[in-house]
Amino acid sequence: MKRKSLRFYFRIYRKILAQDIKSKMSYRADFIISTIGMIFTNVAGFISFWILFRRFPSINGWSYHEMLFLYGFSLVSLTPVQCLFDNNWSLRQYVYTGDFIKYCFRPINLFFYFQSEVFDIKGLGQFAFGIGTLVYSWNKIGLDFTPLILLKVIVFLITASLIMIALQNAAAATCFWIQNSFYVLDLVYRFRDYAKYPITIFNPVFKFIFTFVIPIAFIAYYPSLVILRPDDIPLLSWLSPLFGLVFFWLSYKFWMHGALKYNGTGS
């Protein structure tokens, strides 16, 4: 099979996206309520953050605004998984009912086609919220702002987002073996909440686990160090883009492995 160019995929994505948005718009009330629900989640997250940390000048050497920076960073880097890979939540139903087979017969990349089918607009609210938090804390800490730093932020945000995408792909793909992957997905979903805390609060054992086994420290902590503590950047921070790419690639292979061994429900 001839490999399709990136431009081809881009064009196709736009078309599929338009269809998805049209179908979402036909359930307008649901769309509006879900969006409000999402905003609620973000506001409540922010309020709990504020209640917890407002009265302490610093936690473990992290000032309030630095913690806020981590929080904003995690919100932004968790946006792509929310917006672009939301169909992972439905994977188990497709596999269970046998509808998944329809994806196997398209002459385009299976993974791409499956994920492109759903775009979750609700995630954009979180994106705006995260950017706002980042800008606010950026000003309060008094960080420099140069094109180079902006470039760094963007690169690190994108690669950080790959970590959560990778975790979710892997969790969703377990349904090819255990059928109901909801609990695995839900478990992974809970981990994303922990990404906003600096990894230094944990003891060495859990520091290791959250860095290498369940790599949530790469969602906000390690990449943020590049911006927050430019004088003292650990090697892991520089390596975090690489980690993002490697984890994403591994999860893609795992997902595809499950998908290719899928042989329908027989009906």
Binding site: Y27, D30, I33, F40, I51, N60, R190
Partner: protein
């Protein structure tokens, strides 16, 4: 006595719940990971506060409070909103309505089997583990009785809120959106994520008047208080009782009114 028909539902629920062992196991892993994170997080918070007692709560108090809140969550999360929302959307609600039992009671007792399973497999082990780990920081005495009474009322209040929220699904096509809003509000304002004692004073006085505080904050404060004075005891339990009665009435009334609005697709 008519209790027998309800207990049959309880029994069915127990058998059903015991079928899903893998999901239960993953739930436990998820809860453990959450407990690890809050342990280290609050340790860091207490370390940076410089004092042993923050807002009248020691580190042990806070930990017991949050750990048991997580264990209680197993009781409180009844998925009523999903159950009702799906029944209304699919039309299955018609079958529930013609049953010779009030739907509000029917749904409650259907779930009651999970209470039993949850109590023996999550709550009790957690409670004993907490007692051992904190080395007797949980006072054992009459407060356990108050706690038990308080939890029963908390479950009833929570169920009324769930039932009320589920009824909203009669009017909207959105289950996810409605449910997430309810969940966010309940978890934050009930003190399940952060003990209410940590809330800023102005906010706390408002939140304490709301029904949500009766769900987690009331039973847990009663449990931690080894020698409550009769005023606070009466106030907490009285408040719970008032909410219990009024929320039951409100949710009943709302359902009664909404029942006329249900439209079910034929076919």
């Amino acid at each position: 006595m008519k209790l027998k028909k309800y207990l049959t539902l309880t029994r069915a629920g127990i058998i059903e719940a015991l079928q899903f062992r893998l999901s239960a196991f993953i739930m436990v892993v998820g809860n453990l990971s959450y407990l690890i994170v809050i342990y280290f997080l609050w340790k860091a918070i207490y370390a940076s506060s410089g004092t042993d007692i923050v807002n009248g709560m020691t580190f042990n108090d806070t930990l017991i409070y949050l750990v048991l809140a997580t264990a209680l969550f197993g009781f409180m999360e009844m998925y009523t909103v999903w159950e009702m929302g799906r029944a209304i959307q699919s039309g299955k609600v018609v079958l529930d309505l013609i049953k010779p039992m009030d739907i509000r009671r029917y749904l409650f007792w259907c779930y009651s089997g999970n209470f039993v399973v949850n109590f023996f497999f999550t709550f009790l082990p957690t409670f004993i583990a907490v007692c051992i780990i904190t080395n007797g920081a949980v006072p054992v005495g009459l407060n356990l009785v108050y706690f038990a009474v308080s939890v029963v009322m908390a479950i009833l209040i929570n169920y009324s809120i769930d039932f009320f929220t589920g009824t909203i699904c009669v009017y909207t096509e959105s289950i996810w959106g409605v449910n997430i809003m309810k969940q966010v509000i309940v978890l934050l304002l009930s003190g399940a994520t952060i003990p209410l004692a940590f809330f800023p004073d102005g906010l706390r006085t408002v939140v304490e008047k709301l029904p949500f505080a009766s769900i987690y904050n009331a039973p847990l404060t009663l449990l931690l208080d080894s020698s409550p004075n009769s005023d606070t005891l009466l106030e907490t339990l009285g408040m719970q009782f008032i909410w219990c009665v009024s929320m039951t009435m409100i949710s009943r009334l709302f359902w009664k009114v909404s029942l006329r609005k249900i439209t079910v697709n034929g076919g």
